[in-house]
Point group: C2
Chain length 434, copies 2
Amino acid sequence: VLASDAATQTDPGMPVLLALVAILAAAKLGGELFERLGMPPVLGELVGGVILGNFVLIFPTWSFFEPLRIVPILAPWASAIDVLARLGVIILLFEVGLGSTVQGMAKVGASALMVAVLGVVAPFILGFFASWLFIGKLPDELTAAASPSFSLNYIHMFVGAVLCATSVGITARVFKDLGRIQTKEAQIILGAAVIDDVLGLVILAVVSGIVRSAELGQPLQISGILHLIAISILFLGGALAVGSLLLPRLMKQLSRLRTSGVMLVSALAFAFAMSYLASAVGLAAIVGAFAAGLLLEEVHFQGFREKISIHQLISPVSTFLVPIFFVLMGIQVRLETFANPKVVGIAAGLTLAAILGKQICGLAIRDRNINRLSIGIGMIPRGEVGLIFAGIGRTLRVIDDATFSAIVIMVIVTTLSTPPLLKWVLSRRQQLAP
Amino acid sequence: VLASDAATQTDPGMPVLLALVAILAAAKLGGELFERLGMPPVLGELVGGVILGNFVLIFPTWSFFEPLRIVPILAPWASAIDVLARLGVIILLFEVGLGSTVQGMAKVGASALMVAVLGVVAPFILGFFASWLFIGKLPDELTAAASPSFSLNYIHMFVGAVLCATSVGITARVFKDLGRIQTKEAQIILGAAVIDDVLGLVILAVVSGIVRSAELGQPLQISGILHLIAISILFLGGALAVGSLLLPRLMKQLSRLRTSGVMLVSALAFAFAMSYLASAVGLAAIVGAFAAGLLLEEVHFQGFREKISIHQLISPVSTFLVPIFFVLMGIQVRLETFANPKVVGIAAGLTLAAILGKQICGLAIRDRNINRLSIGIGMIPRGEVGLIFAGIGRTLRVIDDATFSAIVIMVIVTTLSTPPLLKWVLSRRQQLAP
């Protein structure tokens, strides 16, 4: 008793260590299994997480991972793991940005924009109708709680917004695992996903604004919405313009520093700063991380002491942090929710709407050399962005527990099904192309 | 308003990003300045942290870092930064362990044990009397709160315990920066610090146990104390014995895995697991991290796909995380406490006791080729262990706010003065030795 008391007091970081060991082991064992089965390791990391998180079904006393599964974070250690996972996503998108160039983005820019716009409009409309069809009536808990001006349409609008955003992480990882991150298809999807995030967040902000105004009984401020829309568009353009002017000079100054690790630390600090800026103007942090990667090119690091590429230098940090995000997503899957038939029905409807909505994206592509199907499939995963949106809806009490569970299932199914589908589509094309 | 609302909701990790950018910038700028002044960069990282944390004195509205300065962590983002700093210390001690070998440890084992025992006994006695002399009477808040069986001696005992533990991080970093981690002096200090931590934690557990028993009016369980003492001694020995038997087989199995990053992830997971085990048996996590590094040798990684040493592979992770710990320690310095003369008096007394107590260590060394003074000075810093001990004393209400501030000042002064003193002693010897 004395020993364990002292340990708890001297080291509040203990559960973090235990969780990290379990998460890293699950990531590597799951990844290895799927690698051997010929599937992308990222899927194995997700499944490893599902097993960790649902241990509790087999061993009801084992509730260790419970704090990680609750959307509003309660335990400090779970919040720390959550932060590590967020840093992992930021570093992943930073790496993806490093692998892309502005020239390459411009080449696919028009296609990416078309894909993104269709990929936001179509799922929003389909999601609205799927919600109308499957959820139907106002949930009991909302009927009591909501203000008189609260309409059922708000729920449908929110579900539509949840279906908009593409979570590019999974797709990027699959393309990276297959060594195809430089292909036109990957570049269109990544470009579209960035625009998608911007458009999705604008829709989210507008829908949230409408819901909040309705709850408060106040009219919606159009100026606020226009402000956000303007900021969203200006952010990437502004970052690229200002960055390409200032960055070469800044990097030249930094390369004069003598302390070790300047190159890695300044690259990470730049990625975090851009992510913070994106958050500060109301966008997703990952948009900033991607922009940071896009801005930083190898050429900027020529004067530095470290004779190693920035990609190689970041790699160990990403090897450590990125799997934490994917295992955490798996941990948050609640297998027991599948027992409720109503949840399964809503989930099936939303999943169908989510998948079909993004397939329309492929139609935006005119170039016959591009694998249309791989673009539609690459846009399917909703991942962390969908989960974040659903969490906000829950906080605003537009989305009840059953709908939330259904959304989580939709996110999981779209995320889990993308890697094998994408791998299949890409390998099929490879066999046809020679 | 709408934009910032949406950002706060979609990304609770925002303050973490801002704090990380500020911390990494302070670390590199402070490190660079001290490097150019010919002082160890780690001191610059501490001073960078002091400036960040005390911005609030110049700009009273700038209270951003306040949550990081409060011992019981309140804000989730501050707790996340705290966890990153803890992971940094674990990785630092893991690296130190990787740089040491069991053979090298055994060679200095007897000296290290002597140094450690003297380095615990002397500061405990000196600390007890410094507390008796400077703190004197029972603080007012305790006179009212404490149970009748609560004696003033408990305060002195607790202060004595706080002075016991050596924080090896700073010293290790200085030796590493000077390329002297392989010298006999460094090995004795590192070995002694590990034993010191064990002895210090045993004393802490015993003193905490006496205080708790007194508060509850229950007799102290001797069996609990003996149990902890036994566990402390068995941990390192057991870890080394079991580890050297099982580790080669485990690593051979792991080297067969095909997924990328297995080497780094398994090394980190092993370090975290050993740190967790050390915590679980009531020791400091860093003792486990050091033992993990001691067990893992390059030879274990021969079969892995990655053709890079484990030291090089861990280096970027440590470059990112280790400075966070040192900047955080600086942030927690409250410059305004120096305004209270009583606090300065207690702090001066404790600092003197802390420094003199460890100088007696040097007397344990008989070998005239060893720089005795560098050992006494290398043992001075109390760092994070002293702060953790003081925090526990505060929780147990043995240590009041004034004494706590004085302890923090003692920790800072011992920590800040060690690198220049150590550098001076080591360079003086270099000039004499030719």
